[in-house]
Symmetry: D2
Subunit: 385 residues, 4 copies
């Protein structure tokens, strides 16, 4: 007995990937995340600009179609009846803009790594393209995929925190504490190279994650900021550390800190919110717990998978409480929202946009630009749009 007609709801979606070839960390992360729920399969790719690497990487993934360039891929897939439904961009920042343009032009939905582009102008142009067309565009701000982060947002929306007063978000790593860009580490090489990464390393790479997490949970934008940017590793061209004072719409104040030279920290992203009725605390490295601190009452330890969690949190949970969900599941939740939208629009339905989109990408670039402006002016307070 054989199953499965060909309308999108009755078949798996077909995905393609640009980048992610041998030696890439993020490529297989994208593949696992995109395929986890069985709603999509990566079937085509232009996985490297080095032809042999592209071919071997595609073989290792059992891809059906391998291309030598993203242009060839966009052209070919856009014209096939069984072409890909969406493309994944797992490439250095400087390529986001041209590659996204190519696939949008070919009529293919795009899931793009963050930051959205190298310059704000590029990001804004992509946003105009997306807004004026009918294609979907996702940006993989992974960390908002965690169930506990969804719970946090739900609690804020429900007014549990009261008036928001203080926010503290931070993202500390140590992988760039030595000049490994000069000793063969490819990841480090492009991220510390202005030509490939754009005008910021640390703020662009992880500060934007922190900004997005803050914005996602609180629903508030940064109104103004004052930044102190540093480069601690001698000879490095871009920043590797930042301390930023924040003022949010609505009156809350706080800090955003990010560092890639914080010795001993692997990937310490955390957020604390303090309101007039309750506080909240979440740590990405123990992602299944959300601390809630109601005024005058014991702290609550809310755990992913428990029945008391909100519908929004439970909707992105795959296992019962006590079976830890991790980074890959959070990443897959971004893809889950995106692929559900792809199915919706293919069926003529309205998308619901339950994942970070091009507007988040633009806001990220605005943030980076203003941080650089403030730091360049000796820490002057700078307004955001």
């Amino acid at each position: 007995m054989t199953i499965g007609p060909s309308t999108p709801v009755h078949r798996r979606l077909r995905a393609g990937i640009v980048g992610g070839g041998r030696g890439s960390f993020i490529g297989s992360i994208h593949r696992i995340a995109a395929e986890m729920d069985g709603r999509a399969r990566v079937v085509a790719g232009a996985m490297s600009s080095v032809p042999e690497v592209a071919r071997e990487s595609a073989e290792a993934w059992f891809l059906e179609r391998s291309y030598a360039s993203f242009e060839a891929m966009a052209r070919s897939e856009g014209g096939r009846d069984d072409g890909i439904d969406f493309v994944i961009l797992a490439i250095p920042n400087c390529l986001h803009y041209p590659v996204a343009k190519a696939f949008l032009s070919a009529g293919i939905h795009v899931m793009c790594d963050k930051p959205l582009a190298v310059t704000l102008a590029q990001a804004e142009e992509l946003a105009r393209d997306v807004e004026s067309g009918s294609l979907l565009f996702g940006v993989t701000y992974t960390y908002v995929g965690y169930p506990a982060v969804r719970e946090a947002r739900t609690l804020v929306q429900a007014g549990t925190l009261g008036e928001l007063r203080r926010v503290n978000v931070e993202y500390f790593q140590d992988w760039l504490m030595e000049p490994i860009e000069r000793t063969g580490n490819k990841q480090a090489a492009w991220r510390t190279d202005p030509a490939q990464a754009g005008p910021s390393c640390c703020v662009g790479d992880i500060g934007t994650h922190a900004e997005n997490l803050l914005s996602f949970i609180t629903g508030r934008s940064i109104r103004s900021l004052s930044a102190d940017l540093s480069t601690f590793v001698p000879g490095r061209q871009l920043d590797d550390d930042a301390n930023i004072l924040l003022r949010l719409d609505g009156g809350a104040k706080g800090t955003l800190m990010c560092s890639q030279i914080a010795c001993g920290e692997a990937n310490r992203l955390s957020i604390r919110l303090y309101g007039s009725k309750a506080g909240l605390e979440w740590h990405q490295q123990e992602p299944n717990t959300l601390l809630v601190k109601p005024a005058g009452e014991p702290w609550q330890y809310r755990q992913t998978g428990q029945r008391y969690m909100s519908e929004a949190a439970r909707a992105v949970t795959r296992t019962p409480a006590g079976h830890p969900e991790g980074y890959l599941e959070a990443f897959a939740n971004i893809y889950r929202g995106f692929t559900e939208d792809v199915v919706r629009v293919t069926c003529g339905l309205e998308p619901v946009h339950d994942y970070p989109g091009v507007e988040d990408g633009v806001r990220g670039l605005q943030f980076v630009e203003r941080v650089l402006a403030s730091a360049g002016a000796g820490g002057t307070w700078v307004e955001l749009p």
Copy 2:
């Protein structure tokens, strides 16, 4: 350009599943785990004994072939050129034996849920079948798939702990603290029914996980035990709680505790080992950390993904340090070892058996049987084979 000839190394493995239909928790867990690394796809299934459920479940998973019975599936798949390479058993304990027999007879490798069978006799017969044949047989003792557990085993093997003295392993849940088997919970219904689960609920379902974790890390077997078994929920036929004293080969002593009525505990599996040179501690609910406690020195906090971790731990890690890996990744690691062996034997190579096998399944049943024997005799110390 098209890729991919048909020898196993050059194609994805094909998997089938028995059970796991709509309403099953463990079915999609198996699928995600089996497919995560892109080395296998579930293509066929007999997902329910209710025909409509079987069909709809298969459609939801986009399976190529759906069967109304496991017998039909075994027969058909065993005879196809493009038949499945291995089958996944995601069914109540009482079905493990007949279904495993059917697929082994059809020449198909088997990955079976734990416990291996309802009786020790069944388990031993399966073991004889496997040992006398050339087919692979895995048992999904998931928790030994965690990188930190591999690290723990490596440290023990390297002698870091010195002479092992005390062991404490425990597995606490609370999901059976009310008689939910009488209010429509299917998972609870079969697990508390002797006809479907066998002679034990708590010890069979989770005590065996604890036993396996202990055995995996220490490399030691339980030599004798004294058990106190309880049923706290009135009207329940099987045990829901146990306290067991242990003596291991080589002289260590300790405890194994398991409970499904431990109010507030979701899935608290943990192990502590104390040797003459160091101690070890690991908690499944924070799986990316392994505490090592060398005599007279500060505790070490070993984290999954760090470069100082052993080769054995790094081999089953997919993300950099600080990107939490969870239960699904641990489960996928069991499948990774298994599918690599399937490829090996298909290519005529020797398997390496880096996953729990039929002998672990037999030992689990021996453990359950001896626990019941001891408890039945008022806690008498009972020897294991």
Copy 3:
């Protein structure tokens, strides 16, 4: 201006100490604890059987009166108008009985270290003496002095846990993991010597603390037990490790574990209780937090010093929340209850006995005796009185 007449409420109590001289760990602990609230001062002592040590130790403490023997001290202090109100026994187990007898005979209240005596018979005789007289007798089961432990007891008494089902109490140390009794450690020497410590080392020294903590919080007695006792350090005469199965009055079951060879553990005393409505968890090494786990709700993190804590907990708290209270404050809380009773009885009021007394001491010895009996009989279940 001078303050202070001479009735006990208007003056500080006068305490004496036997033992605690130079080299003793517990002596100064007793002094700090007894004096912390300013209600008592140690003014006299027989601090060592070595005259020079006794004299120098008394000088170092600025004692008003130093004695060469406890007999001389009891006689002299019992006869003075400004004699001590109570005596502190900070001496090896084997001396508790004769010294306590001497001071009781001299009409002086007694605060005794645990275990109460070397044999159950001695303990019972002391209990008879106390019960037939009018003197107060405290036993320093320190750990029940913590505010969070008082909170735990209050919650149990209020029925928060529902029907108690499972209890797990454990006390792990590692200070005896090497044979330090043979290399000059005085503390280790007497504790591992049957002549001075009695028939048990580990169970007598720390198992009794665990038993007391369990009994204090739950209000339940151990009805029967099955014990596995070990001596891991070669050449040692007494036990250094024990695993004990418990059944409590009222139906709960569980374990009590204690060890002095648990490598890496300093003083890991913890208790977990699981009832039909909620669970509880407390760890002595993070004593200001009590975890409460109501069925189906988030865990609560109850913190010492918060206003939501019970009256019983707040009554023994000296600092606001977030100012950690430790072992010395817990110890001082035992003395606070005791000295308040000394003042009461001196004023002709009834004592309230809000501290461990001679009956706790007797129960501790019963526990030790039954553990030894069970272990000696191969783990047979043994009833307690």
Copy 4:
């Protein structure tokens, strides 16, 4: 037998207290801390400006001498042969200056609460008085009394961290999140009143603790800062929250945050340091652990009381590892250093100044002044002297 001649080494020191009467939190904290090691006794006091409260408070403490005013006390005690050796100031900030002056003039050593004074000018004058005289002056920056903080300083001094790059210190409370100064809370009333507290509430009260902790551990001064000060509770005259960017001597950068409106936080003081070789982390609410994070190695969990701790940490530890030491013991360690110096100078020896002194007090006021200057100028970077 009677003990004890009258030279200071052979007698207890005599202390007096100004303030700390009924209703004061900090009064009994000072008494317990000053007396804990048995080297000093509080014997005299001017405990309240309300005569009846002063008298009753002195009786409750069994003081030998009670005074109606600090002036009378300074005069009288300065003239007695058995007068107090030192005085404790447990009074609102605005009284520190006049009371300290009075006792210094009377030839009596002073232990003063922080901040040292209301204005920098007052603080500098006190510093000149102390430097030009021969009297000792301590300031109770309590938190540097913890053994783990001493360990942290020792590790920094030993070069364990390498070149210091990033520092983050924070102190969060929530006790002022409602306007309790208007509903009868005396502590809140004076701290939020410029006339009694000086020009800052939050920064003066707890920001100075954070500054002192940072300076103590790193041995580095703040070179410049940029501050954002807030008052979140409507109607309050002084700040209740601050976010401050820091640059330290030697090149490290970072943040100092303090808040008294951080809902759910009791007394969350913590510090993190990141150097080129290792990181450090310490949390006051779990004070017995120091996390050390050497580059490329597992984190170390250093525990107070362990033999591997430095001499500096062990010198201020009273109990074995695993017996938690808390806030009172930290406070007592400040007094221990101070009273040892009192004995030294009384015997004609040089003091060693192992406790915060008047220079720490001055630096605290400089810090407060510069924070106010920066915040008043819209966050301009301001240099420190």
